[in-house]
Amino acid sequence: MIEYKNVTKYYGDNVGVEEVSCRIDNGEFVFLVGPSGSGKSTFVKLMLKLIDADNGKIIYNGYDVTKLKNMEIARHRRSMGIVFQDFSLLPKKTVAENVAFAMEIIGRSRRSIRRQVPQMLDLVGISGEAGKFPDAISIGEQQRVAIARAIVNNPSVLIADEPTGNLDPETGWEIMRLLEQINRRGTTVIMVTHSSEIVNAMGKRVIAISGGRIIRDESEGMYRPEEDDGPGAADDEVFEL
C-alpha cells in the first residue's frame, strides 16, 4: 500500500505537487494522467525518493518514504520496478544481459541469474531474442526487455512511464496486455500515460493531476481530453536520462 498524506514539493517558487493525498492499495492498476508539467513526474519521483518532499508523508509498506536514510533508499527502490518511455536499455549489453544487470547490481547469485532471466524473457514473450543486442530487435520487443528488467527482482510495485508512448497502437496493446498480466500476478501497477484510448478501454482507476493537485480520482475512470495537452510533450518525461 502506498499512501500520500498532504505531500508538498516546490522547486524554488514553482509548484511540483501541493497537498497531495491519496492511497493506492496493493494489487491495484492505476493510471496517472494530466498535462505536461502537472506534477505526475514529481508524484512518481517522490515515491522513488529521487527527490525529497518539503512536507507531508508517503507511507509505503509501513514506513515513511520521506524519512528514509541514504542507506535505506537503495533497498526501498528494489521493491519497485520502473519502465521508462524510451526503454533505457544498455546498448552494449544483450537482451539477456540487460535483464541480468538488474539482478547483478543487487548482488544476486550467478545461479539465480541464470535460472531467472530465461523465465522472465519467456514471461514477456521474447525468449528467442536473448542473445541479441537492443538495436537488433523491434521497439515493441525492446519495451518487453525493459519490462522484464523491471520485474525480474519481483517488485511489489511497477511504475511505467508512458510505456506505450513510442509504440504503434497494436504494439502498445500488446504491452498493455503484458502489464495487465503482471498486475494479475499481484504487482501494483502505476502507469503514467497520455493515451485516452488505452485509459478508456481498460476501465481502471484514474488519478488526474493538474497544477500539482489531484483534481480527480475515479475507480473506473475515463480520460478527459480537456485535462491534457496532447501526447508526447517533451518536458514531461518522468525520468530525465
Binding site: I73, A74, R77, R78, L90, F101, E104, I105, I106, F239
Partner: protein
C-alpha cells in the same frame, strides 16, 4: 559491495572503453606527481643540509698549528672541559679528519688519495650543549697559543637555517596547491567517464543499486589510474635523480659540505609517498566527480 568480481569486471571494461580519457588523466597525474617529486627531493635535500648544519652548529672546531704537541693539546683540552656549556671536548687528528672528509665525498673520495701530504690540521672539537655559550669558548680559544684557525660560523648558520625554513614552507605550500589541482584534474576526467555512463548509472540507481555499488568501479578506476601514474613517476624520478647524483654529486658535496640525500633512501620514501598520493588523488577525484549523481 555484494560481488567484487562484478565490480572488477565493470572497472576494467570501463577503463578499456574510456582509454583516451584514462591515458589523458594518467598523463596529468604523472606530470603533477613528477613536479611534486622534484619538490620532495628538494625538500629532503634541504632538510639534509640543514640537519648537517645543525649538527655542526653546536661545535667549535679549533685548528692547531703543527707546533702544538700532545702534552699541549691535553692541557688545552683540560682548559675547555670545565667551562660552562661544554658538553664534551675531543681531539680530531688530521688522519681522522681526512677520513671524515673522504666519507663526505663518497664516490669521489679516491681523488683525495692522490694527495701526497695531508693538508688538514689537527684540531680540538668542543661540543657545546648550549649554543649561546659558544661565543665564550671562541673567545677563550682566541687567547691561546698555537691556534691556526677557529671554525665557528654562527651568522652564516643562522641565515642558512632561516632560508632553508622559508624554502621548506614555500615547497609545502606549492605541494598543497599541486595536490588540489591534481584532484580537480582527476575529478574532471572521471566526470567525463561518468557522463558517458550517465544512463547506466541512472538505471542502476532506479533499480536499487547502492551508492557504493555504483561508486565502486569509478573509485577503483581512480585508484588504478593513480597507481599506474605513481609507478611511472617513480621510475622517471628515480632515473632523473640517479643522473643528477652521478653528474653533480661531487660539486654538491664540495659546496654544501654534505652529499645528496642517499638515492635508495630517497626513492624508497618517494615511492611510498607516490603510492599514497596516487591512491588518494584517484579516489578523491572519483568520489568528488560522482557526488552529483549520488546525492539522493
Amino acid at each position: 559491495m555484494n560481488n567484487p568480481f562484478v565490480m572488477m569486471r565493470q572497472t576494467f571494461s570501463q577503463i578499456g572503453r574510456n582509454m583516451n580519457m584514462t591515458v589523458a588523466s594518467m598523463f596529468s597525474i604523472t606530470a603533477i606527481l613528477l613536479i611534486l617529486g622534484i619538490f620532495f627531493i628538494i625538500l629532503v635535500n634541504i632538510n639534509n643540509i640543514s640537519d648537517s648544519v645543525k649538527e655542526n652548529f653546536g661545535e667549535v672546531q679549533i685548528n692547531l698549528t703543527n707546533a702544538v704537541d700532545e702534552v699541549k693539546v691535553k692541557e688545552m683540552m683540560d682548559e675547555f672541559k670545565p667551562m660552562d656549556g661544554v658538553e664534551n671536548v675531543s681531539f680530531l687528528s688530521r688522519e681522522a679528519a681526512m677520513e671524515n672528509f673522504k666519507k663526505k665525498w663518497g664516490a669521489n673520495a679516491d681523488l683525495l688519495d692522490k694527495l701526497e701530504v695531508n693538508p688538514l690540521p689537527n684540531a680540538i672539537v668542543v661540543k657545546v650543549s648550549d649554543i649561546e655559550k659558544a661565543d665564550g669558548i671562541v673567545k677563550r680559544a682566541e687567547g691561546m697559543q698555537g691556534i691556526e684557525k677557529i671554525n665557528y660560523a654562527q651568522n652564516t648558520i643562522d641565515k642558512l637555517i632561516k632560508i632553508s625554513n622559508y624554502i621548506q614552507l614555500g615547497a609545502l605550500i606549492l605541494i598543497a596547491a599541486l595536490l588540489a589541482i591534481s584532484i580537480v584534474v582527476v575529478s574532471n576526467t572521471i566526470k567525463l567517464t561518468v557522463l558517458a555512463r550517465e544512463r547506466e548509472i541512472t538505471i542502476m540507481k532506479y533499480v536499487g543499486a547502492t551508492n557504493w555499488f555504483i561508486r565502486g568501479p569509478f573509485l577503483l578506476e581512480g585508484i588504478i589510474i593513480g597507481l599506474i601514474s605513481a609507478a611511472v613517476s617513480s621510475v622517471v624520478i628515480a632515473a632523473i635523480y640517479h643522473q643528477v647524483v652521478a653528474n653533480f654529486g661531487f660539486d654538491f658535496a664540495l659546496l654544501m659540505s654534505t652529499g645528496f640525500a642517499p638515492e635508495e633512501f630517497l626513492i624508497k620514501n618517494l615511492i611510498v609517498v607516490y603510492v599514497a598520493l596516487g591512491v588518494s588523488i584517484g579516489s578523491c577525484g572519483s568520489i568528488i566527480s560522482m557526488r552529483r549523481f549520488l546525492d539522493t
